[in-house]
């Protein structure tokens, strides 16, 4: 046994798997605990052997980015080890997710509760963006809730670092209902604004208790967005007609948000509208959103420990650790994210990513995709 194997075995012994809580195409999730402290963890075992291409792309992304991020509102990757031919990720154990809470009709949300969740989401997202990482799959299902009420962003299976010059990015990301219009128009160069759009959709969903923009297909998604927010003009969104997959969808007038969100305060609607601005450059950033008047107005955001919690014990708590693990309650949204992942595994981007990017601009690029 060489030194690496020995170190791996030592790590493996630190974690004990207790019971299986979910299984999908790419991974099996177990509930487990730390051997020394008894702390509850989730062990995600990624099946490696059966794929020709080797390791699943989303697993690589997850390890790559979660290893770098440590923040109160981002799920913590505690350890990585291999067992036989499998890769095991040890993640923080979290009991429920925002989707379950939104769907639980017995819970009542106060404006202060929504404010608290939004603040935690923006804080986690700001931390990702600050570290040059796009999440690219924000939805209630991926915002997990810890037992003390803290919200944590999870599932970095579609994440990517951004702000590298010249690389095209795929537009087939983000679950459709939360996908911004620029991605629907096939944009290959985008920025942090895509995540903000998703947060805006989640914000609206928290108030409505149903998905805000539920499109049935990519085309229908655009129509749904324009019906809700009006068709953008060249003034609203300069350059959108030049995007690769641009198609005119039809002219819809812009109804005031107030018509749908009758009980929301002016600050709330102002922040929501700033998250759902068509032009990505004018969309609010996570950092600016955190300084928005909405968060400072009364009522104060609820203390995390007082936020509504799911009354029923979830039997499949780890489904949301990764959308790959399939025990979904929402077949539509789930199917989308799965098909996205399959597409992602192949395209050119994967090749480009494997080459280390250098900072020095004076040298020739290693290869151009």
């Amino acid at each position: 046994m060489d030194a690496v194997e020995k170190a791996n075995a030592a790590r493996q012994q630190q974690w004990i798997k207790d019971r299986k809580v979910g299984e999908g195409t790419y991974a099996v999730v177990y509930q487990g605990r730390e051997a020394t402290t008894g702390r509850k963890v989730a062990v995600k075992k990624i099946k490696v052997g059966q794929f020709k291409d080797g390791l699943d792309m989303s697993a690589i992304r997850e390890v790559k980015y979660l290893r770098e991020l440590k923040h109160q509102n981002v799920i913590e990757l505690l350890d990585v080890f291999s067992s036989k031919t499998n890769l095991n990720l040890v993640l923080e154990f979290l009991d429920s997710d925002l989707e379950v809470i939104i769907k639980d009709r017995t819970l009542v949300f106060l404006p202060a509760d929504i404010k608290s969740w939004m603040a935690m989401t923006f804080r986690g997202l700001e931390f990702c963006h600050r570290n040059w990482i796009l999440h690219r799959d924000l939805k209630p299902n991926n915002l997990l809730i810890a037992s003390d009420g803290q919200l944590k962003i999870a599932d970095f299976g579609l994440a990517r670092d951004f702000a590298d010059p010249g690389y095209k990015m795929t537009c087939q990301v983000i679950t459709r209902w939360y996908r911004p219009p620029e991605l629907l128009f096939g944009c290959r160069y985008y920025s942090t604004a895509v995540d903000i759009w998703s947060v805006g959709c989640i914000f609206a969903e928290l108030m409505l208790r149903i998905p805000y923009l539920p499109g049935e297909s990519d085309m229908d998604q655009l129509k749904t967005i324009f019906r809700a927010l009006g068709t953008p003009t060249e003034d609203d969104w300069p350059g959108h007609a030049k995007l690769p997959d641009y198609v005119p969808v039809g002219q819809f007038p812009k109804p005031p948000l107030r018509d749908l969100f009758t009980a929301a305060s002016a600050d709330t609607l102002n922040l929501l509208s700033k998250c759902l601005v068509y032009e990505p450059r004018k969309r609010i950033t996570a950092k600016d959103a955190l300084s928005h008047a909405y968060f400072f107005a009364l009522p104060y955001p609820s203390h995390p420990s007082k936020l509504p919690k799911c009354s029923t014990v979830m039997n499949k708590p780890l489904d949301e650790i990764d959308a790959n693990v399939e025990v979904a309650s929402d077949p539509g949204a789930k199917a989308t994210s799965k098909s996205l992942k399959r597409k992602l595994a192949s395209p050119t981007e994967a090749k480009a990513r494997s080459i280390a990017r250098r900072l020095d601009f004076s040298k020739a690029p290693p290869s151009s995709p």
Partner: protein, 381 residues
């Protein structure tokens, strides 16, 4: 069943017909177990409300007479003090004439020592009984000990005794140990029992007070509704009377009496809201111990942006060829998608100066390879 001392025949025997109404040991589950015996069997594991929920299964079979639920739908199995099951008719048959040996293990049993079964596993049944018995006497608390160590030792001993009794290891010796303990700690045991009782009493009183308050509130509400109804009736009668007698304009009379009625309702509402708010206060006080106040919003909880940037971007931008394609198309696809080449430059610059504020590692031997790595700046993602 407290008076078992007098002998097995002193157990209450009642007529079959009246058995169910006065019997507390019957389970309240839908699958109620019906007794066919004339004897009331006490004991068993009681829940918080003092009831015994009996274990019931369609596959029950008496191990003695092999009768099962198919042959005898009223089959009820009871557990002996040696933890063997048998049906009521077997018990009646075997033990009515006095103590007799158990048909399975030959231990001498008495009829009144049979208890209803609560758990499917008789091992659990036994463990619960043993633990109950032990807890009654080994009732010392943490504050009866000078330090945690001795308390833990005590708990360890209790667990040891319990384990021995459950698994029937050294039973005579263990019993002797219990007797010794009982003799040594008689006063303390008594004291702790009293303390438990006082605590239970306190809980009961608290519950009573809450119940009384709820009843009072409900009564108050009913009374108010009644008053309101009466007042409305009276108001209507008054209007009609006035319209009959006075010569004033009818509309004015109606409006005036309406205004008076409104004033009255408002007054009532004010007093009612006072009442509800006081009860609300009461409820919130109960939850106050767990209540954490909300704090004003703090945008970011670290001081990441407190540091000054150690770089300045060149106003005209940079002419790097990596981003040439994107820069050429500034107003095209790049504009629509929100991509900004400035972000790429900022990231590059920020990453390159990020470590400048960190003090160098000290106390480590400088190896040439480390120096080598330092020279080659790799973008951190």
């Amino acid at each position: 069943m407290t008076s078992r001392v007098g002998g097995w025949l002193q157990g209450k025997t009642i007529k079959k017909a009246g058995a169910n109404s006065s019997n507390h040991t019957r389970s309240s589950t839908p699958q109620q177990v019906q007794s066919t015996s004339t004897t009331v069997f006490g004991g068993g594991v009681k829940d918080a409300s003092g009831r015994v929920t009996e274990y019931f299964s369609m596959d029950d079979q008496c191990p003695v007479c092999k009768s099962d639920r198919y042959l005898n739908p009223k089959l009820r199995l009871l557990v002996s003090s040696c933890y063997h099951k048998m049906c009521e008719s077997c018990i009646d048959r075997l033990f009515t004439l006095g103590p007799a040996p158990c048909p399975i293990c030959n231990k001498i049993l008495r009829k009144l020592a049979f208890t209803p079964q609560t758990f499917e596993d008789l091992g659990v049944e036994k463990e619960v009984a043993v633990r109950r018995r032990i807890a009654k006497e080994f009732n010392k608390r943490r504050d009866d000990f000078p330090d945690l160590r001795s308390y833990n030792d005590y708990l360890e001993e209790v667990e040891d005794i319990t384990f021995n009794l459950i698994n029937e290891i050294n039973v005579p010796e263990t019993e002797a140990r219990i007797n010794r303990y009982r003799a040594e700690n008689a006063i303390l045991i008594e004291l702790n029992i009293q303390r438990e009782e006082a605590y239970a009493q306190q809980l009961r009183e608290q519950e009573d007070a809450e119940r009384r308050e709820r009843e009072f509130r409900a009564q108050e509400l009913r009374r108010e509704e009644e008053e309101e109804r009466e007042e409305r009736e009276k108001g209507k009668r008054e209007i009609i009377d006035k319209l009959e007698t006075s010569s004033k304009d009818a509309a004015k009379v109606v409006a005036k009496s309406r205004a008076i009625a409104l004033k009255r309702t408002q007054a009532r509402f004010a007093s009612a809201s006072q009442l509800t708010s006081s009860s609300k206060l009461l409820r919130s006080r109960a939850a106050q111990s767990t209540n954490i106040p909300d704090v004003p919003h703090v945008p970011l909880q670290d001081n990441y942006y407190a540091y000054e940037d150690r770089f300045v971007m060149r106003p005209g931008g940079y002419n790097d060829f990596l981003s040439e394609a994107v820069r050429k198309d500034r107003e095209g696809i790049m504009r629509g998608g929100g991509y900004m080449v400035e972000e790429a430059w900022e990231r590059a610059l920020r990453s390159s100066v990020a470590a400048l504020d960190l003090p160098p590692l000290s106390g480590l031997p400088q190896s040439p390879s480390q120096l080598d790595q330092g020279g080659d700046v790799i973008m951190a993602s």
